[in-house]
Symmetry: C4
Subunit: 279 residues, 4 copies
Amino acid sequence: MVEVKKITKSILKDVIRKRPADSFKGTYGKIVLIGGSQNFGGAIIMASLAAVYSGAGLVTTVTDPSNQASLHDWLPEAMFVDWNKFDQAEPIIKAADVIVIGPGLGTDNHAFDMLTKVFEIVSKGQKLVIDGSALTLVAANNMKLPTDSLNILTPHQMEWQRVSGIKIADQSPENNQAVAKQLNAIVVVKSHRTQVYANDTIYENTGGTPAQATGGMGDTLAGMVGGFTAQFKDTPKAVLAAVYSHSAIADKLAEKQYVVMPHQISESLPKFMHKNQAE
Amino acid sequence: MVEVKKITKSILKDVIRKRPADSFKGTYGKIVLIGGSQNFGGAIIMASLAAVYSGAGLVTTVTDPSNQASLHDWLPEAMFVDWNKFDQAEPIIKAADVIVIGPGLGTDNHAFDMLTKVFEIVSKGQKLVIDGSALTLVAANNMKLPTDSLNILTPHQMEWQRVSGIKIADQSPENNQAVAKQLNAIVVVKSHRTQVYANDTIYENTGGTPAQATGGMGDTLAGMVGGFTAQFKDTPKAVLAAVYSHSAIADKLAEKQYVVMPHQISESLPKFMHKNQAE
Amino acid sequence: MVEVKKITKSILKDVIRKRPADSFKGTYGKIVLIGGSQNFGGAIIMASLAAVYSGAGLVTTVTDPSNQASLHDWLPEAMFVDWNKFDQAEPIIKAADVIVIGPGLGTDNHAFDMLTKVFEIVSKGQKLVIDGSALTLVAANNMKLPTDSLNILTPHQMEWQRVSGIKIADQSPENNQAVAKQLNAIVVVKSHRTQVYANDTIYENTGGTPAQATGGMGDTLAGMVGGFTAQFKDTPKAVLAAVYSHSAIADKLAEKQYVVMPHQISESLPKFMHKNQAE
Amino acid sequence: MVEVKKITKSILKDVIRKRPADSFKGTYGKIVLIGGSQNFGGAIIMASLAAVYSGAGLVTTVTDPSNQASLHDWLPEAMFVDWNKFDQAEPIIKAADVIVIGPGLGTDNHAFDMLTKVFEIVSKGQKLVIDGSALTLVAANNMKLPTDSLNILTPHQMEWQRVSGIKIADQSPENNQAVAKQLNAIVVVKSHRTQVYANDTIYENTGGTPAQATGGMGDTLAGMVGGFTAQFKDTPKAVLAAVYSHSAIADKLAEKQYVVMPHQISESLPKFMHKNQAE
């Protein structure tokens, strides 16, 4: 039987470095987030909020123009690109350290075209977080993941079923690991106890609360994975720290709340990360 | 003389269950809220806010496109559908556990058409909350309530007069109950001491404050009724708990405020429900 | 020499009545606020915020359509009317208890036309608060104030110079009172120590701080005058209470702030009014 | 070797005067901020927020119309001008005490045209803060700075390289001072320890934290420089006080936060300035 390592608080000090005094915003990475159709604009806003509040240096959000105002209402710190002007997005994507695609992306032709384009233009050294409807598109169209980028998939169990072909009931660590290896990707299978498949190791989160069972939680995690991997060099560990932080903040809030709003998790990040950074 | 039962704090622990550890957003219901013309966009925003903050799993708001940005400013957690694209709304309505129609809906032809359509497509097992201008439309057009859905009406006294034909002065428990039975609906008659007619029982709320006498309070209650009935199985009890919670939060805020803002009630829900959940 | 009465804290308990238990939103008045061009949208938002947070029952804001989203971001509680659809505004204006016109209205032809129209349709029993650019329009076009409504003018000293013809240096209580009587209006001359001319009496405010010297303070006061006169029967006293509350809240905030934001005053109203209501 | 003076806390009480009781919004200056393309709207919002919260009397923001709603969501206190209607902006610019141009301006033809126009119309007695992409445009087009206005440049090190021709590695106090003198401008070179070149003196800031290394920090500083120079007579000292306040607030927030959001600095200004004003 395969070993499953617990993700515990110790991952935080291991990953969240003390910021060097002589640093600037470029030090903390450039992220592009792509998603948010007219119907699902909130998803990309929540993901972007998580990226910025986790400390990413420069964040650009590529989304439907109907989301421009609400993006800036939450986040004047993010830059905006109209996703119908992909020529504007392309150089920014190419220059990014991390690309997050999927939150609220939808599954129409325009979404598929953008995803295809992104898969074509990502290159070595870039990290690509594939979330939400982007995973549905990958499964539905049998898309091959790009081979140059370091790919991180963040499906919930049903999305993982679609991508991996493993039914939820059969999603054992062994089965999941086999497909994750085949995909050559870091895979975060979100559930009550989220699991992370990274290289040859399987990890299981020790936090999480049913108060998180609300729309937008996954978008927030995708943005945090983006923000953490942009800043912290060891990508698998950065993913683990993002997963752990997401649930630890929720657990804390759930001590007093019946339901936790996803944006509250993002807004809690600056203090949480300060408290749990390396000494 | 008919018996009128008091709605007291005990309803809360009876209804608000402790969330099971192994649950996900689907566990807490899918709600669709329909309303918010260009003139009354705030109403559907406040109702949606109440639905999300009471813990509903997945919330979609069907409204005028001019309300998209402000919906997401308050609530990135909600999904948006342009109410002029009813073909997009239809499958979501059909798949919903609860439909709330009316807050800020208005009474023009487009509103009437949507209400008619919703009445046609709701089906067994669905709960339908009819509020605000939807009630005015029902009365003005002698619309028959759908027979498959479980219907919940949330009129204030003047709207109830329109729907029931009972003048405000004559709205005694007996008279109200008779019409509620005829309508085969749960009826929430909002006033200084809100009454609930459910099956053969009449309930009267014990909370409420004149600090609530401000525009938007009813929209907030409609959203809460949606959120509670989506999560908690016993529908009449869920309605009672929503009514009680709405006034209890307001009473608490009114200890320090001359007027209570409706959005404050919604934002207070996560802590209030945590404190008052079943052990 | 004319007597100038001080406006002191005692006005508050005299005006801010304890709300009767059996009341509803209609009890607390209907206000319409008209203003907010594309350039000055913030002004009507701040005025509307003040009206709602002071406890007015039902608030409608008639403004440029480009302000719809930001109005609802601040205030889902307010209803919206596109000021280019004056036919929609007209019945609401006619049914209002209080009309506030001027904050951010601008002085172009469209603004002049609306002001003219409002002057024509107001009627006995209505209160009309004339502020900001509406006063400039009145002065520039020698407009006669409506004779049916109870008119309340809220100029700063330069606007008062325009309306009254009295140069700022000559704005003595005697001179001001003479014109106020001629106009048959309540006049609030805003300055470091705001003065109120009501019937045959002259009042001077005892509060106020230079931390209030920032754009939007006057718009907020206009909205408060609207909110207070909609709720409290004695109009001159309601104006005095609004003026005093505005400065007393600012004075309190200025104990810790170099500058006070106008929206902070509005947001402080519910607690301030609770603390200072009649017993 | 040139002397470099430390910027310390003592600059605050030297600059931030106690507000005279008998003052009004005109006393605290008129600022116009120009910037914010469709892509970078957040930048001009953050700069405007800083200007208003530092106490400027009247603030107008000239920006892309797609930013109108989000500007007012953050700041109903600011007035708005569509930057495509430059004829509307021109008289406001001419009447301003301070013009801030650059945050999120972009570098396209429209941006270049506006910058050119502003350089032509500024006049004696006006202060002109040149920031962000405006500096890039100056460098790329070899634009001559206007000679009538008092110019303040706020480049980060790369922008300073573009404007001055001095490579980052060679940006010694001596080299920088030589170019600052040639330009006849106050120059703020932003870095880990920001330096200010004013007249014949070189200053270095003593505060600042890597928690500030995030997008929008520079925009916020530009807005503060605008707000401080609009209110406080001694322009070089006002710039020093803005630079010091910006980092001191960030240092305080960073005691508990891993990353500091730029808008938090602005929102902290009223209390910070109150605590540190002249007695």
